[in-house]
Symmetry: C2
Subunit: 159 residues, 2 copies
């Protein structure tokens, strides 16, 4: 054994920690980008009124918690819920991310505010819309970030 | 150096890992108990209509997102928001925990359903109440679990 080995090992350890730091930061950046991409896809799917585009953005066991409705648990319930929503409402809204917090390697939350207009099929009227949203995201085994839980409510007073 | 040292070290490492596992499980149990205690205190504070009992259950930068109102960000805004709510409403509700997920050492989420009655000061009427809630909890440096973000909405159709 060389007397230098402990020093070399220590230097290697320092280098490894430094590298892990750099990789960690790069990974956090790409995670944030991936979460923002999912948010953007969700915004587009909502405005397009396409349930088929919404579903892949949720985890298999995802839960959608729309106001005035029971929580929709799992992909089938989520599909029914968005189908019902899109039958009545045509959205033209924009989500703004107020905060995005990476809580753990596979967990993050995003708080947003959305605003815009909603056209109602049953009345033919278009109303202004403003909501506050809380999304919990989970990173899937394929590296994609998906919506695991989603609760929101209107910020405007009731009509 | 004794030739036995690597073996002793290995055994010590195994013992340490085993102990950490046990301590980890015990810590997870006590974290879950602490989160449930905060939820129970919140339920009590809400039914008692006491803002002063609600505030310590939120983190300093906590955010309360009640329907039909802008998000209340931070302790002062949260105080005002609950004061307004309690001026109008007297709750007699019960929260049931649907899931409690420990996402990271200092992060958890809790999804609940609540139901009961609400007495309205302005109308003198008592209505039935049912909501779905999503809480994000954060473990404070003193080891207490507090509400960091809280979004909810009614599950009953609008009146």
């Amino acid at each position: 054994m060389s007397a230098h080995r402990p020093i070399r090992s220590a230097l290697a350890a320092v280098a490894l920690v430094a590298m892990t730091g750099v990789l960690g930061a790069a990974s956090a950046d790409s995670d944030e980008a991936a979460i923002r991409a999912t948010m953007s896809s969700y915004n587009d799917a909502l405005n397009a009124g396409k349930t088929a585009a919404v579903l892949p953005l949720y985890t298999d066991d995802g839960i959608f918690m729309p106001p005035f409705s029971q929580s929709a648990i799992g992909q089938n319930a989520i599909r029914q819920s968005y189908d019902n929503v899109f039958k009545e409402l045509k959205f033209n809204v924009k989500f703004n991310i107020a905060e995005l917090v990476h809580m753990a390697p596979t967990w993050a939350y995003v708080r947003t505010n959305s605003a815009g207009t909603t056209a109602h099929a049953s009345t033919g009227k278009t109303t202004s819309e403003a909501n506050q949203e809380l999304f919990i995201f989970k990173k899937a085994s394929d590296g994609r970030w998906k919506i695991a839980r989603y609760s929101f409510s209107p910020t405007n007073p009731p009509n």
